[in-house]
């Protein structure tokens, strides 16, 4: 059950001038959160109505009655969030959304930019029996997210950067292609879990389909409510969709969908 809580900020850590990791005291959320779920955070003061709406962030860590989120400064909301200091409280709704499907025997986690956080929690919540390979894409070495977290969970990591300042110079999907073509695990209980920018997800989805590997993607849309009442956050799906047509609300019926459910051809994903 999602809760609305006023969570105290335990730590606001600046990772780069535009990346922050925020730890919040939120026992109600920490104790039930599952990988892939998110929190909906109100960055503004109650005395201001601008920016008006909450912002969604994946839960990256849920332990010791606290949750971590990791965010990049994108616009006004994240800029305001970055000004909040330890000790202050912040209005948080969560955990929201449907989590990732259970891990299978073999798993490849593909994260791009600030898409890595939910995959970190997925690795953290894994039982020891499953095998996981993490692939991380970033613009540059300084912006690689989650590498140490994965190492802490003994998950092997490969990295790709746009500028070649760390790991493979190129796209994270190059790494995925290599894994899929070399591993020989397709059809043997292998699943791909991906979160990142839409162009990356498109390629991951197509590649997984080509290799006939089941693939889950975590999607983004503007989310006014996060609880399923506004119908604002829909993405086009193949087949039945939700109650309301050929669209599915990713706030409650996502953000994680099976890649083969998404109607990629009708999904432009321009968001505001």
């Amino acid at each position: 059950m999602p809760q609305r809580i006023l969570a105290q900020i335990i730590e606001q850590r600046e990772l780069t001038p535009s990346h922050y990791r925020l730890r919040l005291a939120a026992p109600e959320i920490a104790q039930t959160a599952k990988a892939g779920q998110y929190v909906h955070v109100l960055p503004r003061a109650t005395h201001s109505f601008d920016p008006l709406l909450r912002r969604a962030f994946s839960i990256m860590r849920a332990a010791e009655d606290a949750i971590d989120i990791l965010y990049r400064i994108e616009g006004r909301g994240t800029a305001l969030l970055a000004r909040r200091k330890a000790g202050e409280t912040i209005d948080v709704l969560g955990p929201l959304g449907l989590p990732f499907a259970p891990l299978t025997t073999h798993n490849i986690l593909v994260g791009g930019g600030v898409g890595v956080p939910p995959l970190v929690l997925l690795a953290a919540q894994a039982v020891p029996e499953v095998r996981i390979q993490a692939l991380i894409g970033a613009r540059a070495a300084t912006e690689i997210i989650g590498q140490e977290d994965f190492r802490d969970y003994d998950v092997p990591v490969e990295v790709a950067t746009d500028d070649g300042s760390a790991g493979h110079q190129g796209l994270v999907t190059d790494l995925l292609e290599r894994q899929l073509s070399q591993s020989g695990l397709t059809g043997q209980g292998l699943t791909v879990f991906a979160c990142g920018p839409l162009p990356m997800l498109r390629v991951v989805a197509a590649m997984s389909q080509r290799y006939k590997v089941p693939c889950q993607v975590s999607l983004e849309e503007n989310m006014p409510c996060g609880v399923g009442v506004c119908n604002g956050c829909v993405v086009p799906v193949l087949g039945a969709g939700d109650d309301y047509g050929n669209y599915r609300r990713i706030c409650v019926d996502g953000p994680v969908l099976w890649a083969n459910e998404v109607n990629w051809g009708h999904y432009s994903g321009d968001s505001c």
Partner: protein, 303 residues
């Protein structure tokens, strides 16, 4: 304890706070966050004759102290509404106002008829003012059509009828009077204002539908003025809507002449917003020793 009971023509409410159509779904989700039976009434998402898929995403976009939406009346259609949604909503001890929209006058009549036969429907709200579908604004921008559509629905049902009006007009009092002439038991003001936003990096509109409806605190002063003006000329009760985020906002609408209010966008920010409005209203009435909400309605002093 102050009495919050109010009346919209034949419709009696335990308090004057309701949810706004399209911001409450069909109740299933919000029930996790508040006890719906404490509300004055619930208004569910617009229902149309046939199911509607709605507009392509992106459907929403935040603006200064407001948001644009172009959902496009996505809904399951009246048949599935009756079989799948109504049974759930019926269980709450709170009046259910079903919001309906049609493309033609006949659509409104047929919907009114179909819903009148169902147990658990307390009233109908005619959405003649949706800016996000083709011809959505045709009715509420024309007094003649407004009167006709209301009269047609009136003839088709014994239920109380509320006409939901658009603020995108030169003189809203003309439309409100037309709704009254057509036999509406109340009017609700306002639906959203037509607006747009542009992504300066892609040079594209931020909504797939190009334009959308503006809601939230940004529009409150405009909505309040519409209510005030209509309150001067109407003989039927008004429901105030637009940017109500808290009890203070709601109270402004009561003072300006609204007999009840609807909480819309605020629910997106706080799923329990409508209940917080009720609590704040009670405190205010206690503080100022106002025995009944009726003393507050239209009590504005302009001398």
């Amino acid at each position: 304890m102050a009495s919050l009971a109010t009346q919209l023509g034949p419709l009696k409410l335990q308090n004057p706070i309701m949810t706004a159509s399209g911001t409450f779904g069909y109740g299933e989700e919000i029930a996790n966050f508040m006890d719906i039976s404490h509300l004055g009434a619930v208004v569910c998402k617009t229902v149309t004759r046939a199911p509607r898929a709605g507009n392509a995403p992106p459907r929403t976009c935040e603006t200064a102290a407001g948001m644009l939406n172009a959902i496009g009346l996505q809904n399951v259609g009246v048949e599935r509404f009756i079989t799948e949604k109504l049974p759930y909503l019926r269980q709450f001890a709170v009046p259910l106002i079903v919001n309906i929209a049609g493309e033609t006058i006949e659509d409104f009549g047929l919907l009114a008829q179909a819903l009148s036969q169902q147990a658990g429907v307390a009233a109908l709200e005619l959405n003649i003012s949706c800016p996000n579908v083709a011809h959505g604004l045709d009715f509420a921008t024309d007094p003649v059509l407004t009167e006709q559509v209301v009269a047609h629905a009136r003839a088709a049902t014994h239920l109380p009828i509320i006409a939901k009006l658009s603020p995108n007009v030169t003189d809203i009092t003309l439309i409100a009077r037309a709704a009254e002439a057509g036999g509406a038991d109340a009017v609700s003001l306002v639906n959203t204002f037509v607006g747009m936003a542009v992504n300066i990096h892609t040079r594209r509109p931020r909504l797939s539908n190009i334009s959308g409806g503006l809601s939230g605190p940004a529009i409150k002063p405009l909505a309040l003025r519409a209510v005030y003006r209509c309150a001067q000329v109407l003989g039927i009760p008004l429901i105030g809507i637009g940017g109500i985020m808290n009890a203070q906002d709601a109270i402004e609408f009561f003072i300006a002449g609204a007999s009840a209010v609807q909480v819309g966008t605020a629910t997106f920010v706080q799923p329990g917003a409508a209940l917080e409005v009720i609590q704040g209203l009670e405190s205010y009435m206690d503080k100022y020793a106002i025995a009944s909400i009726k003393e507050l309605v239209g009590s504005i002093i302009t001398t």
